[in-house]
Subunit: 357 residues, 3 copies
């Protein structure tokens, strides 16, 4: 009898060019959206109010971009990263179409390349994942690379085909929802007073609020996304790891940072893209997250006169107020620069921001 449980793919199992059709298509419902608000504190009105969304040309409230990401990503874990040692990076992530409650999402990944590490213990695998809806329209795509254990450390594979991944998403590649119509845009639903013109390159916005994460909260969120990474759920096995406890899904940290960032970026209508991102340190239950954002660049969106794109670095810091406790992004140690131990996220993203005029 063959083993019927899925042990996950090892480095040797990935073949460059292969397509991985991920299991468990998922209809996103009003229930998922309510849970997303309850677990993250999200308040962006496009995802909260059917009336507001309709006033901007949408059919109804849209599913939060990051909830879409988590569901699409969650499906890939079983095939891509069950034996991953580390999530190394993201590139070229773009949201391509609005998702509504009732839409059914599925995920497919293509293996872009793989490269064995010098140690022989593991290697890096690059994939490009697409999330599609029930009409087979792409709603999300991104590249991701992970360090994956080898099944057999003693036998070199010679794998050495590192692919090119985009260094950034250029403004011309950003996709603004075609249905979005700014003619009836009002600011009261967001409560924000700042618009595209008000943000300056180099400006930093401290989002002030803090959010403590409980074990039940991140586990409920991560199960909602049907993400099967064992490190988030198995507290018994976690006792024998170097941390001695469960790790919080990095995506939950992104969601909390984005929700905290509502305070200062209220009018931001959507995340358009991620240029890249790093889970710079792990988070655990009991941690309190704070967030700040820096304006890296501003871009016009041709053909969309009432809107602009803000390129932002969104940083999450744990257990210390980034301002009062003056937490730097990076620290020098032995001549090497690395993230401050309290910095848990460094995400470079494009936001869609209404213009004042």
């Amino acid at each position: 009898m063959a083993i019927k449980t899925n042990p996950g793919n090892y480095f040797e199992d990935f073949r460059t060019g292969a397509q991985l059709v991920h299991a468990v298509p998922r209809t996103i419902t009003e229930g998922d959206c309510a849970l997303y608000i309850a677990l993250t504190g999200d308040r962006y009105p496009l995802h909260c109010s059917a009336e507001y969304a309709r006033s901007l040309g949408f059919q109804r409230e849209t599913v939060n971009d990051l909830l879409v990401f988590h569901v699409v990503f969650g499906k890939t874990v079983n095939d891509v990263s069950l034996n991953a040692v580390a999530n190394l990076g993201y590139a070229g992530l773009r949201f391509l179409a609005p998702v509504y409650p009732g839409d059914t999402l599925r995920s497919v990944s293509e293996v872009l390349g793989k490269k064995e590490n010098a140690s022989g213990q593991n290697g890096i695998v690059w994939v490009r994942t697409a999330g599609t809806n029930q009409r087979n329209e792409k709603v999300l795509e991104y590249c991701r690379w992970v360090m994956v254990n080898k099944r057999d450390a003693a036998t070199p594979t010679g794998a050495n085909d590192r692919p090119d991944v985009p260094a950034e998403v250029t403004p011309d590649a950003l996709v603004v929802p075609s249905s979005l119509d700014m003619k009836r845009y009002e600011a009261w639903p967001s409560g924000g007073s700042a618009f595209f013109e008000d943000y300056s390159i180099g400006e930093r916005i401290d989002h002030i609020d803090g959010m403590t994460i409980e074990e039940a909260e991140h586990a409920i969120a991560t199960r909602l996304y049907q993400n099967t990474a064992k490190v988030h759920f198995d507290g018994h096995a976690a006792k024998s790891t170097r941390f001695g406890k469960r790790l919080i899904y990095g995506g939950h940290v992104i969601s909390l940072a984005r929700a905290l960032a509502f305070n200062g970026l209220e009018n931001a209508l959507a995340i358009l893209a991620w240029n890249g991102g790093t889970h710079s340190n792990p988070s655990f239950a009991g941690d309190t997250l704070y967030a700040y954002s820096e304006v890296l660049a501003k871009a016009e969106l041709p053909g969309r006169p009432g809107l602009g794109a803000l390129r932002m670095r969104m940083v999450a810091v744990k257990n210390a107020d980034p301002v009062a406790d003056a937490i730097p992004l990076k620290v020098e140690k032995d001549g090497k620069s690395s993230y401050h131990p309290n910095v848990v996220l460094d995400l470079d993203l494009w936001l869609l921001m209404p213009k004042r005029s």
Copy 2:
């Protein structure tokens, strides 16, 4: 560059007569209702069963009154009480129309008056808040007053316009849903055997059951309501407060007490109004709540022969069984009467109760 994050209004920022249009309109969904049941244990069948609700003339199951309250209230925090020292009271709260899943709620408050305290550190602000649906129909209104910090304690404002707030909601002001039709009323869906006639003024009903509150539970509930009060979420900052930990949103205590009160008040169809209420002591994660109710008054509802209104004092007690441990509502100390330290809620409300005949 102007500061873009909202630090909340200080005492000086309120102007009597001003209208505060609160951000983040919210479509209440089936997801919110399911979460409300899961977080509170609510069992009133009007909010659980579409069939039962239709048998009474409603379109479908209605949104729990208190979920409506929490959502309407949650929106006001950012403008009214982000810098509040204390929530002092409620008055004249009335539920005015049923809310259904799919309805979109917004909140607007009017500043009724303000009065600086003798200390000069802070003052009291009175507001009247209305919650409206997408047809601009009022579904809820209430007065609330809070003690708010001054931005500048050294400069007196001279504010001294304390408004009148209603001492009670008189029975003629109670609004019974016009669609409610008692012709097909049955008791089995609630399981209760007591009706309007069976409750006597002065009678006390001990609701027996206890409910322990976990940190994740109150935080999930309070985020669901998009209530942004920092004291419920930021465990890191809470370490430096006098409690050393996070506070539970007082509204969660009200919801739990109301859910516990199902045992003994099963046939109560709705909360019609609050005459007033006090969060008499704080609650924290790990606390177990018990509840009891006292019948304060009974009122006929003209034109609604099958229904009456019960005025009830609903009391929540923590970490002690109110009966077995004989917890009094108030205690005398140094000639002063104050709430027993285990009493966390004293709410005076009107319930809609079917008549036996």
Copy 3:
């Protein structure tokens, strides 16, 4: 004034042949289904994807069998087991029709018999419970027996009518949803590669993954099901019990085991029946569950050529990896065989499994 709160039925209160119409009919919504996924990690695609469900002839995604069970069961607690000392067993449980979001469930139980224990302190009560939808179609039925305290231990009742309960559900009594159409069945949505033919009698499948349960999680789940058993909620009272803490609802353990069993039984379309089951040891917050399954029998389903039924023993083990730590099902002590203290569930069930051909 009569006591208005429900103290639950005592042994003396049950009358053989009596019908108990349980309170609180419940419309199952998308919100309940999302919460079920978030609380259990369930991934069976029939409950996740409207598209997949439609491809198999269903109207849309169906409500998870176990969510149906928990809701139907939850309603019975108030009348059947509020004063129960122990849940002794289940028999003859069958799922009879699919439930969809929007359906309204109610429960009715018949008292099958009762038998006083020799001690005189308590006795066993047998009930048969049926869950029905808004069209009065049975969706679930099962027998259950519980040990219930007597109100008056000093007065013997002489009750001694132990009923027959089915020792098993024979294959001819299994109900396959009539709408299920396998013509368009595909395996990618489940991700599983094993079918009916691939499972051998006697084979054991270790489901590998572990799931830690937090206090908030089981309490949220159990409130969602409106199960009112005090032992799950009242942490204050629990301090005085022999465990000193709250017990986890045994049904939550079943749900977690079933969700863990997705890894190795991905194609299983539904639970058709339970032959019997035992909550062999209690579970508490902080426990980590693992699960394994053994194939007890295989049965053809006449008239349903693409499908077969697998009779499985599903075992849940806590705080120990059943394989690595070699946890036996039972241990001998003083010449008596009893469940290993880490074994918390032993459930004998029939699964509906597609055939390869």
